[in-house]
């Protein structure tokens, strides 16, 4: 965050639920009362209807994977064709020379025998897109991030076990209390507030 004058710190208001439906209901209620991007749900497994309740936008992961697949496959095919079926005479010398292809009569097979290049083309497409999927997912999720404000709430550990948590963030000191009460009304337990460091 590049800020000239110190902004007020973000506060995280957390609350936990025993039942998933209660949790989702609470989210819907909060959205009705005008909270949008600052909401989040935490559960030990992908909770049905969560993204609907939060109204999340379409994930970018598929797009990333598609690009990676095309990139990988293209490289796969190009490298093979370049190495076995081209020989660009302008490439020479210590450095460029080693990039030059070498056309060899291999068992009388055509130098550019495209059907024989398909397997590696495919494999590279798969490999790169797999990396795309994983790294893409991590980057979009901002992971790895070992520390996070919500972890400062000891009770939050139950989120990965059997509880459903809600977080609401706000910079507005007045709003903070109001949200706590709202959560309490919605049946949340272990309601707690964390102040996020200015540097986060």
């Amino acid at each position: 965050m590049s800020a000239s004058k110190p902004k007020p710190p973000t506060h995280w208001i957390l609350g936990s639920f025993k039942r998933a439906d209660k949790c989702l209901a609470a989210i819907r209620a909060l959205r009705v009362s005008g909270e949008k991007e600052n909401l989040d749900i935490y559960s030990a497994y992908p909770l049905h209807g969560a993204e609907a309740a939060l109204g999340l936008k379409r994930s970018k992961v598929p797009l990333i994977v598609l690009c990676c697949a095309i990139f990988g496959a293209f490289n796969g095919y190009t490298v093979q064709t370049w190495a076995n079926a081209t020989s660009v005479s302008s490439l020479s010398g210590e450095w460029l020379g080693s990039l030059r292809g070498y056309i060899l009569d291999v068992g009388g097979r055509t130098a550019h025998a495209w059907p024989l290049n398909i397997p590696i083309t495919f494999e590279l497409g798969v490999l790169i897109s797999a990396f795309g999927a994983v790294l893409g997912m991590l980057i979009i999720n901002g992971l790895p991030r070992l520390h996070h404000p919500v972890f400062e709430v000891e009770a939050f550990r139950s989120a990965q076990i059997d509880r459903y948590w809600i977080s609401v963030t706000t910079k507005d000191d007045l709003k903070r209390e109001q949200l706590r009460e709202q959560l309490a009304q919605l049946g949340a337990e272990d309601i707690s507030t964390v102040e996020e460091g200015a540097d986060e």
Partner: protein, 1017 residues
């Protein structure tokens, strides 16, 4: 690499040097071991750069150049000469003409030398007995000269002594012998026809007038001379000119594989083994003279009948082969004699009885007589004089032009075991003081009923001169290490009377003593070198010297050509004495040996055992059984079944009380009720490689029955030995692989099988353009009609391409390394193997144009050259072995282990620096001797100031092609339609093996042709 290696044994010229420390390699100077070993006796000898001297020096460059041989990469040192010899240039191969002798008869050689190391032996084109070709024994010399097992020191009673000490001893004895003219001194020599030996004996005779020279070998030719003596009343040399023969009957005679002129026989016989002359130019191109008078009219192709016990190479070529025991041959001969020789029938009635009504004999007799002058009967040296006499009589009756007679060339035509008998008698009578044995290993070679070893103990002074410390040397008082043929000065006479010079390629590696020097010592010339003696011998004998302006220029010419100006062989036309023959044969009764007859054969690999320590020959597959490293008891399938015997089973073999154990081999086409066993194995001498390989047949042989004729009993032992066999499967399984055709069909162009393996080969892919600037398309043609399966090509390839030996155990595991293999298939005749026919097919990489091995190699280690070679890049290979899997011909060989470890000391000097020695984990295979192609290319491309020219047909000769006597292999470029190989590819018998795979082999095989006699079909 000749690096300093403390583990290697060090060699000194003599024990005197050892004690005095003279000319020992000074490690302090950092000289490589090999250099030290080669370094001459002292600076004085180096002055005056005669050839002999630099031969001693040449080891010096080994350090620099041997590196090319191996993959190791040490900090490399270069040791140039101090004084450059006149004609030696590092990196430029030299060829020297020399000669060698086997059984007393010479064969001319042309030896390739690199930096003074002889690395390849070929036949000398100027020598009529080799005409550029060579056999297995000649090829194997290149291993023999470097054999680290050779005797290295003069020994007295087993103690280290020295040549000087020996000479001193001799001088003193000569003094003593003066009294009785040396009548108590006896020289036991091998058979020899060398003029030099004759001269030396004369010199010895001058000092010791009554000293005797006798001759012994266990594979003597006495029967030939005794036969002529019986038939014509005089001992005569018998020669055959198969170029004139159209019908041949070989009675137990392996004339294509054994005998003094086997190479000439192979060439001339093969020339007529094809339907028409044009196919025979392969032989002509090898230097065969076409001036020979050919029968104008009649059939070009010859017909061969063979009667023998065990399948021989010649038997494999037979159109009709009769399986008979060795002892039956005489009856067969008699039966023919009865039919062919006028009023001979009566004399041989008793003998001829068994074959009197034989359909076979009748047909053969008819065929022979119909061919008359172009027919001939030959008899093997194993057969007794009588059979030779009968054959001689038949030939004379036929007026055969094929056979001709001349005066004996051997200094002594009696060399059989009778010699040893006499020696034993004299020894026991105390009539011998000094016995000088220069014959090969008589103690081992002696028949079992001659106690030769015991006799030696009765002789006060036994001198044994041999290459190895063997069975005989342990009984000798003196052991003198013999110099190898490639290390010695001398000469030889071939069977046609040609005298050839033998000159050393390298100074004796192990301080061996040369023959000349040994006899020189006894001739009172202890200090003259063999070189001087030889020059002296010829300065006296040679006539046409004056014509060439004196001795020196003449001598230079002789050394270059290797051959003295040939004297036309004297031919004698003797008169037949049928009466004498009848006289001798009338009393003969034939009583058949009951049970199993034992039949000894001369081995194709170790001969009589003298090559037992030659690992190349030991690992060479026996032509018919394909067994390596040892001999086997060969029996017929029927006999095996009858007695419940199986191959690889070890049996006790007992002949009148003497017993050996031998593994069995079931050989189709073997005579019934007999077992064949090769001699020359079961050695117990000091040679590490020969020792303990196979079983000793000499322990059974007797003077009365040296080859056959005694009864043997077989007893199971329950043991068995997994033989090393390079071809485990004998049948072709009805696959069109080695094709054969009958002459009649070839003539009327009816070759369905061949046509099936020919024709267009479409491809989905567009063809690779021929990018070779000169357009070369290297190719090979192998004419199976000419190939006898003699294996010479295998050794030639092994010698040229640094192919390493792997030993019996690895052969058992199927890991032999021969690039070129000769496949041998048996063809059942009417459903039985009893009379199976043989077809042999040389098979090396066929350089497929659409090579299956190439596209599967992940690292591009085997790809095509622009000239159609299937290159194998050893240094790129990572050894996935995928190529070998995908090779339908299975001609690729893999270095499963580091075979290079097996090389020790001197043997590394043998490596051909033009061919990479393959490391462990690397695939290797035939590449049409690409190093020879490249040498020819560089030679031609650099001609006339670098402008260069095109390689002409015949300028590139592959190693296998060069060695092949019968000219079965042709090599050249297909871009030249007039090239020999193009013609062969166009031949109607040419076909591509496994054509249906569309691999498009560049090597085409030509179907074998058979010429059966309709009457016997």
């Amino acid at each position: 690499m000749p690096q300093i290696d403390p583990t290697k044994p060090r060699f000194w010229r003599s024990v005197e040097d050892f004690t005095s420390g003279a000319d020992r390699p000074k490690a302090a100077h950092g000289y490589p071991e090999l250099v030290g070993r080669e370094f001459p006796v002292g600076a004085t000898e180096i002055d005056g750069a005669t050839r002999r001297d630099f031969l001693k020096l040449v080891g010096l460059t080994a350090a620099g150049t041997m590196a090319a041989g191996c993959m190791r990469n040490p900090p490399e040192r270069i040791l140039p000469y101090v004084r450059q010899p006149a004609d030696i240039r590092p990196g430029i191969p030299l060829h020297y003409a020399t000669s060698t002798s086997l059984g007393g008869y010479g064969i001319g050689l042309l030896v390739t030398s690199r930096e003074g190391r002889p690395i390849k032996v070929e036949g000398n084109p100027d020598h009529p007995a080799s005409f550029g070709a060579s056999g297995t024994f000649e090829q194997a010399l290149a291993y023999g000269v470097y054999d680290p097992q050779r005797g290295k020191h003069v020994k007295r009673k087993g103690e280290l002594s020295g040549w000087k000490s020996f000479k001193a001893d001799v001088i003193s004895r000569l003094e003593a012998a003066k009294a009785d003219n040396g009548k108590k001194i006896l020289f036991l020599d091998g058979p020899t026809a060398s003029p030099f030996d004759g001269w030396l004996r004369k010199q010895v005779g001058k000092t010791l007038p009554e000293a005797k020279f006798v001759t012994f070998t266990s594979v003597d030719r006495d029967a030939v001379f005794d036969g002529t003596e019986l038939a014509f009343g005089q001992r005569l040399e018998t020669r055959f000119d198969f170029d004139k023969a159209r019908v041949v009957l070989a009675l137990d005679d392996d004339f294509l594989e054994s005998g003094p002129d086997r190479l000439v026989h192979a060439r001339d016989f093969a020339r007529h083994r094809v339907p028409a002359p044009d196919g025979a130019e392969g032989a002509a191109s090898l230097g065969g003279d076409d001036a020979k008078t050919r029968p104008s009219a009649g059939e070009w192709m010859n017909r061969l009948y063979v009667a023998e016990c065990a399948y021989s190479v010649t038997g494999g070529q037979a159109d009709h082969r009769l399986r008979v025991r060795g002892s039956d041959i005489i009856c067969l001969a008699a039966a023919l004699y009865a039919r062919l020789v006028p009023d001979g029938a009566a004399d041989v009635a008793a003998l001829a009885a068994p074959y009197k009504d034989s359909k076979w004999v009748a047909a053969v007799a008819k065929d022979l007589s119909s061919r008359g002058a172009q027919a001939v009967v030959t008899v093997g040296t194993r057969q007794p004089a009588e059979v030779h006499a009968l054959a001689a009589a038949i030939n004379a009756t036929l007026k055969s032009e094929v056979v001709e007679y001349g005066r004996p060339l051997l200094l002594d035509t009696k060399s059989g075991s009778s010699t040893l008998k006499d020696i034993v008698a004299q020894a026991n009578a105390g009539q011998i003081d000094t016995l000088v044995i220069t014959a090969w290993n008589p103690v081992y070679a002696a028949p079992s009923d001659i106690a030769f070893a015991d006799a030696l103990t009765k002789i006060p002074n036994v001198v044994y001169y041999g290459q190895f410390e063997d069975e005989t040397s342990v009984h000798a008082h003196w052991f003198i290490p013999a110099a190898h043929d490639l290390e010695s000065w001398g000469d030889s006479t071939s069977i046609d009377g040609t005298v050839a010079i033998q000159q050393p390629l390298i100074a004796p590696l192990f301080d061996g003593v040369q023959r000349g020097e040994l006899f020189g010592a006894f001739a009172g010339m202890p200090d003259s070198t063999a070189h001087e003696l030889l020059r002296e011998a010829h300065s006296q004998t040679s006539a046409d010297m004056t014509a060439n302006g004196g001795f020196e220029p003449w001598w230079e010419r002789v050394l270059q050509k290797g051959v003295l100006s040939p004297t036309p062989p004297d031919t004698i036309t003797p008169t037949l004495q049928t009466a004498k023959i009848g006289e001798r044969l009338r009393p003969f009764k034939f009583e058949r040996i009951e049970g199993i007859e034992i039949n000894y054969v001369v081995d194709n690999k170790v001969h009589d055992g003298r090559y037992g320590d030659n690992a190349w020959l030991q690992e060479l597959p026996e032509p018919l059984t394909k067994v390596v490293w040892g001999n086997v008891g060969m029996i017929s399938p029927a006999m095996a079944e009858k007695n419940g015997l199986a191959a690889e089973e070890i049996v006790k073999l007992t002949v009148d009380g003497r017993t050996i154990e031998v593994p069995l081999f079931v050989l189709p086409g073997h005579a019934e009720d007999s077992i064949s066993l090769a001699i020359g194995y079961g050695r117990t001498g000091g040679e590490a490689i020969a020792r303990g390989v196979g079983s000793n047949a000499n322990a059974l042989r007797t003077t009365s029955a040296p080859w056959f004729g005694s009864r043997a009993t077989l007893a199971k032992t329950g043991k068995s030995d997994r033989l090393g066999i390079t071809q485990e499967h004998w049948a072709m399984e009805g696959r069109p692989i080695a094709l054969t055709a009958e002459l009649a069909d070839v003539k009327r162009k009816h070759l369905p099988m061949v046509e099936e393996q020919n024709g267009p080969q479409p491809s989905m892919m567009d063809e690779w353009p021929n990018t070779s600037p000169e357009g070369y398309r290297w190719a090979m043609a192998i004419d199976m009609a000419k190939c006898t399966g003699c294996n010479a090509c295998i050794l030639a390839c092994e010698s040229e391409n640094n192919i390493l030996i792997v030993g019996k155990d690895q052969v058992r595991r199927g890991r032999e390394m021969h690039w070129l293999r000769v496949d041998r298939y048996f063809e059942e005749v009417d459903g039985s193997l009893a009379d199976a026919k043989v077809v042999v097919q040389p098979m090396a990489c066929v350089q497929c144009e659409k090579a299956p091995c190439e596209y599967v190699c992940p690292v591009n280690a085997t790809v095509h050259s622009d000239e159609g070679l299937n290159d194998m890049v050893y240094n790129r290979c990572v050894g996935t072995r995928y190529c070998a899997n995908n090779c339908p011909y299975k001609v690729r060989r893999f270095n499963y282990l580091n075979w290079h470890n097996s090389l020790q000391g001197t043997y590394e000097m043998k490596m051909n620096p033009d061919v990479t020695v393959r490391a462990r984990g690397v695939m290797e295979k035939c590449t049409y001797c690409v190093q020879r192609i490249e040498q020819a290319r560089i030679a031609t491309r650099t001609e006339n100031h670098g402008v260069g020219r095109v390689i002409r047909d015949g300028e590139v000769v592959t190693a296998c092609q060069q060695s092949c006597a019968s000219g079965a292999i042709s090599f050249g470029s297909l871009h030249d339609p007039k090239s020999e190989v193009s013609k062969k590819h166009a031949d109607e018998r040419a076909y591509a093996v496994l054509w249906e795979l569309n691999t498009r082999p560049r090597t085409r095989h030509l179907a074998k042709v058979r010429n059966p006699n309709p009457e016997l079909a």
